[in-house]
């Protein structure tokens, strides 16, 4: 092994680690004191929390209701549709991870890991049946196959994005089914009142995010318009919505809207909540985007015009791409807030994750005192997803930072 002789052996790890500790944690008596104090506090919290989680807490309301947390009152005999959606998403995540690598790959990996942990969770087969566990592992397999495909085959990013968009449409179709008598036996209609749990939370957030983004951008552009009518309407909309709490908007779209509409026009309850959340998010999005638009130096517009680009081209090719880059952190922050705001849908009677938790606590007298466990579990789920979004945001920021001045 001649190669081995070339390797320069560095100093052993330990002196480096000790040096690091000394420099960063014990550099002065004040720092030493702070280090000791914070270690004590962390230890106290971790030990206390760990003991509670492992020994004192009673997880039965969580463990026995996993399906309710996941999908709410969705009909049991139609659960295959949910699984179909999950398979689809797993596969696409795998392909995306293989195609785009980087943080997408990290997410795909984290997802596969979560499925695996869930599949081997040491709880009774009565609550997490063998079939479900196998399906979870099947999803790991689907993601793995997708990953290989993404690595091996050169798929255009554009096609993959299109596949995601299609999968979203397909998800809605699978969830809701069709009223049409011809297909009803295969894909019977499931009214949206029966969509619930994490599924509904996801749907509310996803629709809110996807729809509020273009509307918000249009509102921001409209606010800068030279046409007084367009500008005025945008300002009135934005400022009105921003001046009102989300709860009020949800009430308006859920309860007042149907009163104004003719009786033959019936908008679905979930759709009304989505509408409210989207309008609310769009107004804030517009203000974020406006901040970005104003941060672009006028020289950019002049250069574009001097080359003969027209107003639309200048906006779409030069100003907007730069403006959106500037406001990515603000936009992601807003998406995170929107995700958590989905819990407000409880007040218009939707059974999203938090509402399901409440219903579970109230469903069994023995669980009435176990609200800590239930809410703790829900908080954990929210944390996992908001943390992921914040992580993604940081990665996107560094990725687009390349083009900065």
């Amino acid at each position: 092994m001649s190669i081995a002789t070339d390797i320069v052996i560095g100093p052993p790890d330990r002196p480096g680690a000790v040096l690091w500790l000394k420099k960063n944690l014990f550099s002065s008596w004040l720092n030493t004191l702070l280090t000791i104090l914070s270690t004590a506090v962390i230890a106290f919290v971790v030990v206390g929390l760990g003991r509670w989680i492992l020994f004192n807490a009673d997880w039965s309301p969580v463990v026995q209701n996993l399906r309710l947390f996941a999908v709410g009152p969705y009909p049991v005999e139609q659960m295959w549709r949910i699984w179909a959606i999950v398979y689809m998403v797993s596969f696409l995540m795998g392909v995306s991870g293989g195609r785009w690598r980087g943080s997408v790959q990290t997410f795909a990996l984290a997802m596969a890991l979560a499925y695996t942990v869930l599949a081997i969770l040491p709880i009774s087969l009565e609550y997490l049946p063998l079939a479900s566990r196998l399906r979870l592992l099947g999803n790991v397999l689907a993601a793995g196959l997708g990953y290989l495909l993404g690595r091996r085959v050169a798929i255009k990013g554009r096609w993959l994005a299109l596949a995601w968009a299609l999968s979203f449409a397909l998800t809605l179709l699978l969830l809701g089914g069709l009223r049409n008598a011809a297909v009803a036996p295969y894909l019977p209609f499931v009214e949206s009142g029966r969509w619930g749990g994490l599924l509904l939370t996801f749907l509310l957030a996803l629709v809110g995010i996807v729809a509020s983004f273009p509307i918000g951008v249009l509102l921001a552009l409209g606010r800068q318009s030279s046409l007084p009518v367009v500008k005025g309407m945008c300002i009135i909309f934005i400022e009105t919505v921003r001046g009102v709490p989300l709860v009020t908007i949800l009430f308006m779209t859920s309860i007042l809207l149907p009163l104004f509409l003719p009786p033959e026009v019936r908008i679905d309850r979930v759709l009304r909540a989505m509408l409210g959340m989207t309008l609310f998010a769009a107004a804030y999005m517009a203000e974020n985007v406006r901040g970005g638009l104003q941060s672009i130096p006028s020289g950019q517009v002049e250069a574009a015009k001097a080359m003969g680009l027209n107003g639309w081209q200048t906006m779409l090719l030069i100003v907007l791409p730069q403006a959106l880059r500037v406001v990515i952190p603000a936009i992601v922050g807003q998406f995170i807030a929107l995700f958590m705001d989905t819990t407000l849908a409880i007040i218009v009677g939707l059974l999203e994750l938090l509402a399901i938790g409440r219903a579970i606590i109230n469903s069994n007298p023995q669980w009435l005192l176990l609200d800590m466990e239930v809410y703790g579990f829900i908080a954990l789920i929210f944390w996992v997803f908001t943390f992921s979004m914040a992580y993604a945001s940081r990665r996107i920021e560094t990725a687009v930072g390349l083009g900065k001045r």
Partner: protein
């Protein structure tokens, strides 16, 4: 509408008694200039005298309120189609480069040919590479503007303007924002361009460049043309006291 048909085809820019106000500030006070095809005109004068404003009226980044401006036979009015037609014939290079920081160098250069001229991407890229070769930085094509030095950025900006195959090039103090050691590389590109017969209006205080390249020099002060003439005359025998004073301050 003034009759523009009897204008000599050699005259590519005609300004007649051009006035402009910023609110009640009278910034251009009766400018009349004619520029012939292939002429290189250097405009100089004290800061705030209206040099930038004047050359920006020629591609209508600024509008004028009185007088006529006729560029390549098209009169500049509020008609949007005229303005876009003129802008695709007139290239402009700015003091601050104004490259698009979110686009690679090559995409900065191909943007307008693809979207305004509707050239296929391959053709636009081939021509862009030729131009980057001409300004001496083909190896930077795949970088972002932020990764380039000031001199390199300004050369990309020149290539970007040339990509539209303009008939006229406007330069507004193209070397004023550059470190001294980078000024030469930009001036060299501009000299080559002048040698190739391009019609150029250059606002600059690089007097050595003016002496070598300009066909004519125009001295601006307080919104009027004080004096104009060939470089030898301006440098050796200026007619006006204000010109003499200004030259004595900058030379």
């Amino acid at each position: 509408m003034p009759d523009t048909t009897n204008v000599s085809s050699d005259e590519i820019i005609i300004c007649r008694d051009v006035h402009k106000w910023f609110d009640d500030f009278h910034v251009l006070r009766g400018i009349s200039v004619t520029v012939r095809k292939g002429e290189v005109v250097v405009i100089f004068g004290p800061s705030g005298s209206g040099k930038s404003t004047f050359i920006r009226t020629i591609n209508r980044l600024e509008n004028h309120q009185k007088g006529d401006i006729i560029v390549d036979g098209i009169e500049l009015t509020d008609d949007v189609r005229n303005i876009e037609a003129i802008r695709s014939e007139v290239g402009m290079v700015f003091q601050q480069f104004n490259l698009f920081p979110h686009l690679k160098v090559i995409d900065n250069v191909t943007l307008a040919p693809i979207w305004v001229r509707k050239w296929p991407k391959a053709k636009a890229e081939a021509i862009a590479m030729e131009l980057l070769e001409r300004v001496g930085i083909p190896e930077q094509a795949q970088k972002y503007p932020g990764q380039l030095s000031g001199g390199q950025q300004q050369r990309v900006a020149i290539a970007r303007s040339l990509a539209m195959q303009p008939k006229i090039m406007l330069f507004d103090e193209p070397t004023s924002a550059l470190d001294p050691e980078m000024i030469k590389e930009v001036l060299d590109v501009m000299k080559k361009l002048a040698g190739s017969g391009m019609t150029m209006l250059v606002v600059t205080h690089e007097m050595a460049f003016a002496r070598e390249v300009a066909d004519r020099m125009i001295f601006f002060d307080q919104g009027v043309i004080v004096e104009q003439g060939p470089p030898e005359q301006i440098f050796t025998a200026p007619q006006e006291d204000r010109t003499k004073l200004f030259l004595s301050q900058i030379l």
